[in-house]
């Protein structure tokens, strides 16, 4: 079986991470990973929930050293973890917080006592073995596992890095506002740094002022990995950000206006990634200047009857996209929209059909449907839901849903109604839901 390096740089003194202003060398990282690997229980799979990005990275490497597959759950709801427990008998959570996690086995991350790092051999990683499992809601709406080999991730990071010009930025420090447990965060804040020898901040700031402060702690050149939501917060707050080489956004479409404002305000380039959990990053664009997406080198798009198929040498198989798009040249395309059943909120995808099924199967719920109202101005779209129940009130239904769903999909608001406007065939026409939404809103 062929192998790839875990990290491009073999220099033990190389700075690979920043923790509270403190640089952390490659040998420190490898030593911490080896220590952790020695403490982890003997199981086949490890759910890495570490929120501190350095600890996540240590956990990931420790899993590789110990031959355990890293599983990144679709969400934090207890139900998500329960399903993983059913899927794998031998699984546990690595966590660095005190959050309650149902009855799954926990290994609490404890920072190793600092001692002088001893030079460690850089591990080799089998390139074809499934190492990381992530989930996507796919076209069926059910969370479907996606296996990622090191070979796929490593080559994906190479292609993206070449496009972003990382060959000239190998001293850069990366800060990300997205968690490493999703595909974009994993690729941009973990794989790009390992592949290109960048250093990464352990922090994951939320508010504009936090982002500025976390960037300030890093040496130039800096790269900010973020989302349209965080970027809008920075622009609206009129915050001053330290100089960045570029800002990289993904998870939902960035408006050209916001991108242009951010470029001007922060005196930088704002670049955007297009991809999916199944494919990883496949295209980029600079929304302030261009509407067309430019495919990464080596990635081809072919139209089939109704969908587009992505093929690339580093992907184990070709993949059908759930988005509608139109090719504008051999290597360029524009996005036209999504499959109408799919909703995407704060970067997380779900199928309305699946959400409806989960709502309808709650004890005490007679009927129910989720509905995505027209967008409130300059705001994140939120789902609403209409529920028929004689027993439960809004709070009780919300509580039951919280056990089932990622918070991003919880209805805001949830309306109790006498009946749903189902037509003769039992379907719920979109127009009837729009009318019901207006009616419920007026009563508020």
């Amino acid at each position: 079986m062929s192998h790839l390096p875990l990290i491009t740089s073999a220099d033990p003194e190389r700075i690979v991470a920043w923790r509270n202003n403190e640089p952390c060398s490659l040998s420190r990282l490898l030593m911490d990973a080896k220590t952790l690997a020695g403490q982890l229980p003997d199981r086949s799979c490890l759910i890495n929930l570490c929120e501190n990005r350095y600890r996540f990275l240590v956990g990931l490497i420790a899993g590789i050293l110990k031959g355990q597959k890293t599983v990144l759950p679709p969400g934090r709801a207890n139900e998500d973890l329960k399903r993983l427990q059913q899927r794998y008998e031998s699984i546990y959570c690595l966590t660095d917080t005190d959050t309650r996690l149902g009855d799954i086995e926990i290994h609490r991350y404890v920072d190793p006592i600092s001692s002088d790092p001893v030079e460690q051999a850089t591990p080799e990683v089998p390139s074809a073995k499934p190492l990381i499992e992530l989930f996507t809601s796919g076209s069926t709406g059910k969370a479907t596992p996606q296996q990622k080999s090191w070979g796929t991730l490593w080559e994906g990071a190479r292609l993206t890095g070449v496009r972003l010009g990382l060959d000239n930025l190998t001293q850069a420090a990366v800060l990300a506002t997205v968690p490493p447990q999703h595909m974009f965060g994993l690729e941009a804040s973990i794989l790009l740094p390992l592949r290109w020898g960048l250093s990464v901040s352990s922090e994951q700031p939320l508010f504009a002022a936090d982002i500025a402060a976390s960037l300030e702690k890093l040496p130039a050149p800096r790269i900010l990995i973020t989302t349209p939501l965080h970027l809008r917060n920075c622009v609206e707050e009129g915050i001053k950000l330290p100089q960045t080489a570029f800002i990289l956004s993904a998870t939902s479409t960035l408006s050209p206006t916001l991108a242009a404002q951010a470029e001007k305000l922060f005196d930088t380039q704002v670049l955007e990634i297009y991809g999916s959990t199944e494919t990883g990053a496949i295209a980029t664009r600079r929304p302030a200047l261009e509407s067309d997406w430019s495919l990464l080198p080596g990635i081809t798009l072919n139209q089939e009857t109704k969908a587009w198929r992505v093929t690339a040498a580093h992907l184990a198989e070709s993949i059908l996209l759930s988005d509608h798009l139109k090719k504008t040249s051999e290597h360029h395309f524009i996005l036209l929209g999504r499959d109408s059943d799919m909703v995407k909120i704060a970067g997380k995808r779900a199928s309305l059909e699946d959400l409806n099924l989960r709502l309808q199967s709650l004890d005490g719920v007679e009927d129910g449907v989720f509905f995505l109202p027209g967008r409130r101005s300059a705001s994140v779209p939120r789902l609403t839901a209409f529920v028929v129940s004689n027993i439960l009130d809004e709070q009780e239904i919300a509580q039951a849903l919280r056990e089932q769903l990622d918070p991003a999909f919880l209805p805001r608001p949830l309306f109790i109604v006498d009946r749903l406007p189902r037509n003769a065939t039992g379907k719920l026409p979109q127009s009837a839901l729009v009318a019901l939404f207006k009616q419920c809103g007026a009563k508020q």
């Binding site: 959050t99 700031p205 939320l206 704060a346 805001r412 949830l414 508020q444």
Partner: protein
């Protein structure tokens, strides 16, 4: 009273369907209690900065305390507000 004002701001910003007086001032705002998430926190931060003229921080050491409850958020706003 500021606490009521903040409760109303939270409800209006996040389009929640609860009565301001029904929010327990000591109950957690996130995860449990109102069940807010980080998207809500960002929306809330923007409303707070518009209304009270200061920017919320979460990597402050007292971060957990600020969002612990309506009561703690109100106290934080009281001490930081510029308007």
């Amino acid at each position: 009273m500021l606490e009521n004002e903040v409760a109303t701001l939270i409800i209006e910003t996040l389009n929640l369907r609860v009565d301001p007086s029904s929010i327990d001032p000591q109950a957690p705002l996130f995860t449990e209690g109102l069940g807010l998430d980080s998207i809500d926190a960002l929306e809330l931060a923007m409303s707070i900065s518009k209304k009270y003229g200061f920017q919320l921080r979460s990597n402050d050491e007292n971060n957990a305390n600020i969002f612990a409850s309506l009561s703690s958020l109100s106290k934080h706003i009281e001490s930081c507000r510029t308007t």
